[in-house]
């Protein structure tokens, strides 16, 4: 039994975590809150060493140092554009660690209490699902594999069979806690995790990260139950509950149900996108023509997308906007909630480029303004202005609220090629007679545009 002072210490840690999450409701308090959370984590580890007096102290400390170095290097080196895949990866290793801890519990303790055995089985299964699912998510976001939904005939049958198999093994484990049954359960969990994420299309992947995040939280909570550790129980439950709600909020922002996101492609229908560019004619123009359109407009709205961030063109864009301002053009940025690779990702990317965030306007706030706008300049975005979300029930993004760029007088797309966006579907707006395309790398195009603007 752990001493009372340690339990009180764990309580303090738990409060630190709650404060950390709470502080994230405002950008002003968020950073301090995160530091408080980190302090809570350090406290928890120190208490654990003091209260449990673990054997093998040296190897454990070495493992801690290796993990710390790995975590710091990984998170320092990563580009802001790669943030979502890093979060997925961190979540995966967390889920993996939880599953391993539960497996070891099985070997060590003769868990005769049924509830504890159920919690152990749950941790192993869901931890493995979270780990494998996160790895596939990472591969999709890093574009190591196709971002489009992957299905094969028999997937639904295999998936259901694995679920039932997992359930049966879980029951077996509860009645007869043997390590090899646990290992088998772990393997089934890995298979379920892969099959869960494969059919999810690119644009929906962030929601899956959030869901898997919630899963890992719940496994940590179950692990806490097994170990009789209140801190793990509280922290895991917090993350599980917060993650579930966040998943639902994000799914709402996309106009979809979580079920539809996970199983839409499996159930069939034409959710698979075209994937290739068609050869229909489009209107393209040089930077000079586009500069004239922009320079003589009264009102311009800019729709930034992931392509802008990848080209590191934020600074050039900001210069262009300043030039337009100095010519008396009214310019706003329109930010779609899921622009980039994850909700709120674009805000992070533009904040990095020091675009003043008073100029950034949220979708609901700006959508009414497109009707009275002369020119919409879409930089490296595609899916968030795709009218298919409104008009084409078979499109994978159908139902997602979009920026009403198609209501403006003119639309200019800065694009590298006719390749479809992350969701893998064509954008009708590209073929609209009011649309002009300027092909090229976003930074290159914006530089030329800026130069041309100064001469018109």
């Amino acid at each position: 039994m752990i001493p009372t002072w340690a339990q009180i210490g764990y309580l303090v840690s738990a409060v630190c975590f709650i404060v950390a999450l709470k502080a994230l409701s405002s950008p002003r308090s968020a950073r301090t809150g995160n530091l408080i959370g980190a302090a809570g984590a350090v406290l928890a580890v120190l208490i654990t060493f003091a209260a449990y007096k673990p054997n093998h102290l040296a190897p454990i400390l070495i493992a801690l140092i290796i993990g710390t170095i790995g975590g710091v290097i990984g998170s320092r080196r990563v580009q802001m554009t790669q943030m979502p895949q890093l979060v997925a990866l961190f979540n995966g290793v967390g889920g993996g660690a939880a599953a391993l801890v539960a497996l070891l519990e099985l070997g060590e303790v003769t868990a005769d209490a049924t509830v504890a055995a159920i919690a152990t089985a749950f941790t192993i299964l869901v931890g493995a699902i979270s780990f494998a699912g996160s790895v596939v998510t990472f591969a999709k976001l890093q574009e190591l594999m196709t971002t489009r939904p992957v299905t094969f005939p028999g997937l639904p049958v295999l998936f259901v069979a694995s679920l039932l198999g997992g359930l049966a093994l879980g029951v077996w484990l509860v009645s007869d806690p043997r390590v090899w049954v646990g290992v088998l359960l772990c393997l089934v969990g890995l298979a379920i995790g892969v099959m869960l994420v494969l059919p999810v299309g690119g644009a929906d992947v962030p929601i899956v990260i959030s869901l898997l995040n919630a899963f890992t939280g719940l496994t940590v909570a179950a692990g806490g139950y097994v170990l009789g550790n209140t801190l793990l129980l509280v922290a895991g439950t917090l993350v599980g509950a917060a993650g579930s709600l966040l998943t639902k909020l994000m799914a709402n922002a996309m106009g979809r149900s979580v079920f539809n996101i996970l199983f839409g492609a499996v159930r069939g229908g034409s959710t698979l996108g075209a994937g290739t560019a068609s050869d229909r004619p489009v209107i393209s123009a040089g930077p000079e023509d586009v500069a004239i359109l922009l320079g003589y407009a009264n009102k311009v709205i800019i729709v930034p997308g992931y392509g802008l961030a990848v080209a590191q063109a934020q600074h050039t864009l900001r210069d262009l906007v300043e030039e337009l301002h100095s010519r008396g053009v009214k310019v706003d940025y329109a930010i779609h909630p899921v622009a980039g690779r994850m909700p709120g990702h674009m805000n992070v990317l533009l904040a990095e480029a020091q675009v003043p965030y008073e100029q950034l306007r949220e979708m609901d706030d700006i959508n009414g303004d497109f009707k009275t706008t002369d020119v919409v300049l879409v930089v490296g975005a595609n899916d968030v202005v795709n009218p298919a979300a409104r008009n084409t029930p078979s499109a994978p993004i159908y139902g997602m609220p979009i920026l009403n760029a198609d209501e403006a007088q003119r639309v200019i797309f800065l694009k590298r090629s006719m390749r479809p966006g992350f969701a893998g579907i064509e954008n009708e707006l590209l073929y609209d007679p009011r649309t002009t395309l300027l092909f090229g790398d976003a930074r290159d195009s914006l530089t030329k545009l800026l130069a041309a603007l100064k001469t018109v």
């Binding site: 993990g67 975590g71 990563v78 391993l100 939280g217 992070v348």
Partner: protein, 101 residues
């Protein structure tokens, strides 16, 4: 049995707190929120240390140490990356000061 009821009570209350604390977060901060929550579940590290420290079996120790490494990466990396993101949401005043440096 009373202990498991106590744990169950904690579980239910924590679930309500979890929902309550994030229900008002704006979509602007969804990415850091996800990453912050991610860092918090890295606390499984505590469990990994307890299990590893209590064993006499070499195999258990090796697997346990692996769990310690993974959980530490999760926790440390999660907090550092969240901090990096939040650093960018400085107010306009703070930003100006930095430019003048």
């Amino acid at each position: 049995m009373s202990e498991s009821i106590a744990l169950l009570t904690i579980f239910v209350l924590a679930a309500f707190v979890g929902v309550e604390v994030i229900s008002k977060v704006s979509s602007t901060l969804h990415t850091p929120l996800m990453s912050g929550a991610n860092a918090i579940h890295g606390v499984i590290l505590v469990g990994a240390i307890i299990v590893t420290g209590a064993t006499n079996s070499v195999i258990v120790m090796i697997v346990g140490l692996l769990a310690v490494v993974l959980a530490t990466v999760n926790m440390v990396g999660g907090f550092v990356v969240t901090d990096r993101m939040l650093e960018m949401f400085k107010g306009p005043g703070a930003r100006k000061k930095e430019l003048h440096k």
